[in-house]
Symmetry: C2
Subunit: 184 residues, 2 copies
């Protein structure tokens, strides 16, 4: 019998060459390309429909450098190296560290009452995808090539993963946003 | 004074993870995903508007394995290793080998009367892009992740390359086709 699990959902921006950040994690190319002020590309609606976030250590350390904490919802940081004491006091009760395997975590989150989790960060997204834990993805593609960087996808898979294209919307910024559901 | 050059144009299909072929060059994932029989995704119109093709050795050797020669228009194969004698007799006069540098070739083709060239193959597209020789690209993205393969993009650039999004069309196959112009 299949154990009930939280479903994983992705909402991410990539360069036309498929990167989510430069090699050093910089997202200047993304932030500076945001010409439609006041337009959130559906982010508020997306985040309103998840019960919390799951991200890796690298993404966590990146968002910690931002001037304010971005998330009202609970965040789980997947890491084999961080400990509870690595969570800044101001974020206690809002962020927890977990060393669980992806499927194990999704069962645990389901027991905690999460129906939908926002899965973020390249490495975490790829491992959740490879293990069939992602239900759908919203990918916003920016019209820029940055050459090198941290990729969203890539890395050997046991088998091809087919997706169903749900919809694509284009924006005057040149951003092309596509929603896909993973086919099981 | 700038020497007049033929402009470069790209028309290519990629997986959602940005590959144009598997590591061994296989495009089974692309061919088998073509559910709209009789629908050419604008290829005939595109090819009707170029004066010829420029491709690399790898792409040339791949298309030579197809049951019939695909191109009615002249083809230039960029290679430092192939020679005129590597062109099969049946293709003499239709295919020529060139060891020219990209910009040099585009000036040469302009003198030959080519206004627009179809630039094909990952490596050749990347080098022409990096040298500012591509005017626009039509990228058809298939809803499949293949994990590893030959990438369309990637590799250090002297500077980011910004593009202008012209249009995106979606198809019932799940293919998302976007046209971009390179911003100079």
């Amino acid at each position: 019998m299949l154990t009930a699990m939280t479903t994983g959902h992705v909402f991410i921006a990539v360069s036309l060459d498929g990167y989510i950040a430069r090699l050093d994690g910089a997202i200047d190319w993304l932030v500076e390309s945001w010409p439609e002020v006041g337009h959130d590309y559906g982010y508020a609606e997306f985040i309103g429909n998840v019960d919390g976030l799951v991200m890796g250590r690298a993404t966590f350390e990146k968002v910690l450098t931002f001037p304010t904490w971005l998330y009202e919802k609970p965040v789980v940081v997947l890491s084999q190296t961080l400990h509870a004491s690595d969570v800044p006091p101001a974020l206690e009760g809002r962020v927890r560290i977990s060393a669980a395997e992806p499927a194990e975590l999704m069962q645990e989150l389901h027991r905690d009452g999460w129906r939908r989790a926002y899965i973020d960060g390249g490495k975490v997204i790829r491992s959740f995808m490879a293990q069939g834990l992602i239900e759908d993805l919203v990918i916003t593609r920016l019209p820029i090539l940055i050459g090198t960087g941290l990729p969203l996808f890539g890395g050997a898979l046991d088998a091809d993963i087919r997706l169903s294209h749900i919809e694509t919307t284009t924006h005057t910024s040149g951003f092309v946003q596509s929603r896909y559901a993973v086919i099981r």
